[in-house]
Amino acid sequence: MIRMQPSVENTQAIAQSDVVAVERTLAGDRDAFRVLVERHSHNVFRLAYRMTGNRQDAEEVVQEAFLRAYQKLGQFAARANFGTWVYRIAANYAIDRMRQRKKEEARKVEPARSEQGTENDPVSLVHDAAPTPERLAHNVELRKHMEIALAALSHSERTAFVMRHWEGCAIEEIAAVLKSSSGAAKNTVFRAVQKLRLALQPFVRRGTEARAMGTES
């Protein structure tokens, strides 16, 4: 899992500070909400990017998540963790965004990504000190396959996988976003990994072999 796990003391201190900021916001101090936005924006962006797969949508999800959080802040008062709550709002909105994007792309004649620059291409973001042509070609191919495999997951599967594997969310949190039971959420994580494995294993293995051959030559 990639998500950095802060220490228990640190998490408690942040949660405590979040509660204070929420109370101050509800009392009419808008600047207190700014603290929450600045503190949680990066995490929400990471989740949103992994769910939507593109930066523009991710940024829209982040803004919308905080707007909705502000509008519903009164409902949060009794809850324990602002970070988890805003995550849930963002994940829900990201699912809506993905659905909408799918409909939009279905209507377009040309491929959806043809107009995108290299900014959103993960290949262009790879920092490889000395990529050999073989490794570069393999990276390009593998990344394409990974993106396709992720895009082929259902919205629920992608959400469950991103939240569990990359964001380290508890199964109960995932179940709340998917509006399902914990058992069903667990099953969705399993189905997602199984599908990804099915789609990617041949390329991962081939890649390992290709790298081995590259070092020998």
Partner: protein, 266 residues
């Protein structure tokens, strides 16, 4: 030796296995399962190399700058929206309709002289009440969506369009919509429930939009409404409900199914 299933190994790798200790114990002695787990891990490790762009150190500040002008003065306490007079009135009306539908069912239930007729009447009255209520709700929703779609700045030089009136109406309609959707679900009218579910999403979008939007943002809202074809669906179902309202006898089952398929097509 009985090997672990793929599901067990994935659950173990993702930290959601119930029998974690048992799986770990098995892996310690089973080379085959260890190899299988390594293959799963290789795929997941490859996926971990997919980068997430760094939005920059000042990203939180930029997000704040973008959303701050769109925030209302003060967030509402959770109980406040439910006690607004207008909303209380709307909810009261909806609740009264539903109570009437329920009572209609109860009253006709007592008279058991002819079971088939009574069941027919009860269902008919219940459906009629629901049909009238939902029909009116769809009419109001349609009007709001049409007005929103036609909204434009009063002065061409104006950079913002105020949609707060539509927003408040969307908020009110949302509460009613939820109740009707749940009732439709309970009544087994899945086509109507699905349409109300779609409408709910659009109403949510409108209700959560900023009070003042730029023409570009308004265009985006319009495109969303258009993309989902919700206005068309609302009209089709609304007209169909009007027809149902006019009919004095319940439609035969085959007609119901053809109506449902028409709605599904829409």
């Amino acid at each position: 030796m009985k090997h672990m299933t793929e599901e067990d190994l994935i659950a173990y790798r993702e930290g959601v296995a119930n029998e974690r200790a048992g799986i770990a114990g098995h892996l310690a002695v089973c080379e085959e399962c260890r190899a299988e787990l390594e293959r799963i891990e290789a795929v997941l490790a490859a996926l971990d190399t997919l980068p997430v762009p760094d939005p920059g150190d000042d990203y939180g500040r930029r997000v704040w700058q973008q959303i701050a002008p769109r925030l209302p003065e003060k967030p509402k306490r959770w109980w406040r929206p439910w006690f607004e007079a207008k909303r209380l009135g709307a909810l009261g009306a909806v609740a009264a309709m539903l109570v009437m539908a329920f009572l209609a069912g109860r009253i006709t239930k007592r008279d058991r002289t002819s079971t088939t007729d009574v069941v027919g009447n009860r269902e008919q009255i219940r459906e009629r009440v629901l049909v009238v209520a939902v029909g009116e709700h769809l009419g109001r929703s349609e009007m709001m969506l049409v007005e929103l779609s036609n909204a434009a700045p009063r002065d061409p030089a104006q950079k913002q369009v105020n949609i707060s009136a539509e927003q408040r109406r969307a908020e009110d309609l949302l509460d009613e919509n939820r109740l009707y959707r749940q009732t439709a679900m309970q009544e087994g009218d899945t086509a109507l429930a699905n349409m109300l579910d779609e409408l709910e999403r659009v109403l949510l979008d409108v209700a959560h939009s900023p009070e003042e939007v730029t023409p570009a943002q308004l265009e985006k809202i319009r495109q969303k409404i258009e993309a989902q074809g919700i206005l068309f669906k609302v009209r089709v179902v609304g007209r169909e409900l009007q027809e149902r309202q006019k009919a004095t006898t319940p439609a035969p089952a085959q007609h119901n199914s053809s109506r449902e398929s028409e709605r599904n097509k829409a």
